[in-house]
Symmetry: C2
Subunit: 298 residues, 2 copies
Amino acid sequence: MSKRIEDYLEERKILMDKALEELMPEPSGLASDVITAMNYTLFAGGKRIRPVLCIAGAEAVGGSADGVLPVACALELIHSYSLIHDDLPALDNDDFRRGKPTNHKVFGEAVALLAGDGLLTLAFNLMARHGLEKKVERKALLRVIDLISSAAGYTGMVGGQVADITYEGKDPDPTVVEYIHTHKTGALIAASVTAGTVLAGGNEEEIQSINTYGQHTGLAFQIADDVLNVEGNRDVMGKEIGGDKVRGKITYPSIFGIAESKHIQTAIVDRALEALDRFDERAEPLRDLARYIINRKL
Amino acid sequence: MSKRIEDYLEERKILMDKALEELMPEPSGLASDVITAMNYTLFAGGKRIRPVLCIAGAEAVGGSADGVLPVACALELIHSYSLIHDDLPALDNDDFRRGKPTNHKVFGEAVALLAGDGLLTLAFNLMARHGLEKKVERKALLRVIDLISSAAGYTGMVGGQVADITYEGKDPDPTVVEYIHTHKTGALIAASVTAGTVLAGGNEEEIQSINTYGQHTGLAFQIADDVLNVEGNRDVMGKEIGGDKVRGKITYPSIFGIAESKHIQTAIVDRALEALDRFDERAEPLRDLARYIINRKL
């Protein structure tokens, strides 16, 4: 299984990197600094998990990568924007990510802030242009923009980030940590895979099942992140380990301990897999991805 | 004329305030802080110029406020987000706006940053939901999302802000100041009025003329802002006067002086009015608005 999913991920990562390179502008003109900064984080070695989930969500109902590429790219832009803003001194104040200096360490806070804004805005531009240019069902595309913007905004990722800050250093509480993880990370991951299924013309039942899969997979992904932050390898991760604890972040390990956190993530992945019960072998990459997510090293 | 346009602005401002109040959520849940912060700037006394231009752009080709309200609201959300981020210490570091403490002075930098992100994201959510719920032409709506995201992103507002920072304190240059103003302010103003015309079913020729009107009006608006920053009334403006000069911002007065800047803005408004030559009396509010913009006191 491990080899199969690693090949799958690698193939689609190459596809995504190519698509992103084609769509991102070369730095030029009076605003060239912000384009350079946008490209810096977008091409800083991300695993392209969200785009790959979007493609796999399409494939599970008979769609293909081609039909969802602009939306898959948009998802990676939104993810990159969130990393840039999250790393800013006003939020997590991180100096390194994936072994490289964070955006504001290279370009300064002002340009980093605006590079995040630029990536978020460009994500919606890409999706709208996809709807105008390609033979895509426009209602499905608007539904996807609705879905992704809900998952990225105050009802999703932004809400999770605010809760994350608000409760930093406070008593760990299982309700709070679940809220933070399902919103900060889980929502966009669920929207990524669901967007693929919607665009590929999945029926309502399929869309709901894939969304359930995505919710569970997203939560498991963030718990795995928490665990890696405790027992990960600094050289593999490209950043210091143990940062969550130093900051007083509310995490699964801080509430349940490492062993129980691993049990929880396994149980959640089982529920993700159950949601795929009615799908055939075309959903095999999604099954592999859910298992991969809790066994990864970075 | 003055009374007529003031009544027009006031009526539509009331309509917009009501629409915005209806759509914005009450603060609740674990992310309630960010909702409070989003509402704070959104309801801090804005003149709703961009939404009013959107409505007037629709009316000019026989449309109505009703058909464009969600997009008009989205434009105000994008404007509010840009104010919050612009005021942050990393950018202009402003403590007051419209006589009130800026967002980060009240909620802290982290929540203010995320409130901006939340408003920008919600703007696209509103537009997508409008396309799903209402009997709007979906292709027109996607064109509007394309238009607005281009005007807000690195090809528009974000690009203008970056150039604004990059050239702060440098030799004033007419090419640079025109770039900054047309991008930082002009682009979203032009997109606002054009979006109204597109949604109301204007033909290509009408859309192009309204866009030309918007480009000129947007530039004139920002030059008027520069002039007010030199000779405005502190009590009316709700902030200190002369801030541009202290910061070494490149402005029209810094390059051309006050008298010549006023000549330029009048000439630009004339060009905006020319672009409306073929329109009938339904474009009268747009004509009034262009004249109002250079005669306003705040």
